[in-house]
């Protein structure tokens, strides 16, 4: 399912946060959103998830306008893994993943065999089946993040939005998540800080001060001219034979004191 962002502008308390953003992610493709802190990545993801209403412009989910979908219908099509999700409750991993079925259940259609199968598949895909009975709050950061993704997988959306899914994770878990994004056949848009992770995606969008300053394939966008201007650092690309792509190293920009 395709997701399109058309001329989105958002102001919060009179301050422009996003200005006239247009981009789209084709069905089954992945998009990396990059940009400095405060550039509007999280806000854009929240607009795409329907949590923040745009002042101007619209978001299309497949062929439907996001604002025409009920929260339930939207949740059946689109899943969002935010950075904010946390809990003080003593909830077991399996029960946390089961919550993902919420948009498909009602008082009259309780949790059934198919829901169970979907939850099992989601836990298996995130390799958390073995500690299904553990308490969520006893898990490490990487394990928690996998539970959140499994929960959204159990939602069976066709579009995934991930807000910095690799934050606070060690390198092994970062790679595991990025690898999952590439392999998964759904449409994915994710905000990332590590620019080298952005190479794995089909498209890269660069936000700077609420404006879209570059949007295209990684090879076109992740070039020193763009990154040096946006992030105010010096970029040193090296070609990694095994990865068949450049790997970026950074140092302090000569231009900024």
């Amino acid at each position: 399912m395709r997701i399109q962002v058309e001329n989105i502008s958002v102001s919060i308390q009179g301050k422009p946060i996003l200005q006239d953003i247009s981009l789209d992610v084709a069905s089954g493709q992945s998009l990396a959103l990059i940009g400095p802190n405060g550039s509007g990545k999280s806000t854009l993801l929240r607009v795409m998830a329907g949590h923040i209403r745009a002042d101007r412009g619209q978001v299309m989910i497949g062929r439907e306008r996001l604002t025409d979908l009920s929260p339930r219908n939207l949740a059946q099509r689109l899943g969002f893994v935010s950075q904010e999700a946390s809990t003080t409750d003593a909830i077991a991993v399996e029960d946390a993943v089961k919550l993902g079925r919420t948009p498909w259940l009602s008082l009259l259609s309780p949790f059934g065999r198919q829901d169970r199968r979907i939850v099992e598949t989601a836990m298996a895909e995130m390799a958390i089946s073995t500690y299904r009975n553990k308490q969520f709050n006893t898990l490490s950061g990487g394990e928690k993040q996998r539970v959140h993704i499994a929960r959204v997988l159990a939602q069976t959306p066709q579009i995934f939005l991930l807000d910095e899914p690799t934050n606070h994770l060690d390198i092994r878990h970062q790679i595991a998540i990025i690898d999952w994004v590439i392999r998964h056949k759904s449409t994915v848009a994710m905000a990332v800080h590590d620019l080298n992770h952005a190479f794995a995606c089909d498209r890269v969008a660069v936000l700077h001060g609420g404006k879209l300053v570059a949007f295209g394939e990684p090879d076109e966008v992740l070039v020193p001219e763009v990154i040096e201007r946006v992030f105010q650092v010096a970029v040193h690309p090296n070609f990694a034979e095994q990865l068949n792509r450049p790997v970026l190293a950074f140092s302090k920009s000569a231009a900024t004191p």
């Binding site: 929260p71 969002f80 904010e84």
Partner: protein, 351 residues
Amino acid sequence: MNRMTFGGLTPAVSLVGAMAILLAAVSSALVIGETVIPLSTIWNVLKLEFGYSAPQVNPIDQGILWSYRLPRAILAMACGASLALSGVVLQALLRNPLSDPYILGLSAGASTGAVSVAILGFGAGVLSLSGGAFIGALLAFGFVAWLARMARGEGASSTSSLALLLAGVAGAQLFHALTALIIAKSADANQARAIIFWMMGNLSGSRWPDVYLAVPVAALGLGIIFSHFRALDAMTFGREAAQSMGIRTGAVMAVLIGTTALLTAIMVSLSGAIGFVGLVIPHAVRFLVGVRHVLLIPAAALAGGVFLIMADIVSRVLIPGQTLPIGVVTALVGAPAFAVILVRSSRAHSG
């Protein structure tokens, strides 16, 4: 969860078990008191009152049972269930383990509303007293929520316990002061004494008309809250996560907080501000049946009802010849439990 089990028991077995526990609690409340009335007498009184033939019983016993102890036990059950349900809802929606209608000032607001009606005379009769309590509870919640938001500031964690608790303290103090002001300015000495006794939480005056109001309200509250069990579950990881699972969080919060205010207001108008039930019971029940609301909601209603019946019995027998306000008993149990929950939750946050 495709076959619903209650801690390993089937629904039928757990329903029978719940009824048995409730029956045992109500029976104890009927038997125990200044005079102990045997179960056989109770059985005969019930048969007589419902128009069946039974051996004649002492009319004084019959009066004590039918006019005092039974309505009092039923009212205690409805109050306890309502307060525990309010605690479950507030703890889930505000994502704060220390939330309950007493701590967040709802009970204080309801008291102010009820006293305004009773003393300042905005109408008369039990319904308008409850109406005043309802408006008072909503105002208090609005004030506390607004204050917590101001105190928390922007961008801070939405699970900040401290801001909410302090706002609750401020709200409760403000509404207690308003109540005191109304009493001092307008009530005569007898009224003042009665109100102060009532505000500590008191089931002494329970009569059947109170039961006819409390039981339908408690049942309605249970129904509304239970029908939202999935939304309450979805709030586990916060409001944004619930929203992305298709929950209309704004509408759900409005309905459930309105329900909580209604439950608190009606129960406060009937029995005063009984503290700590809404705080302690949900925690105890979570420990027993887990955090899923499909079990937590009915179990908390049951446990809250049974707890308050038991607390009422204790309040009647602890000091011979004297009845303590039930709020004193619940506070004696609840305040230490509050301390334990506070320590554990702050450890969970820092660890």
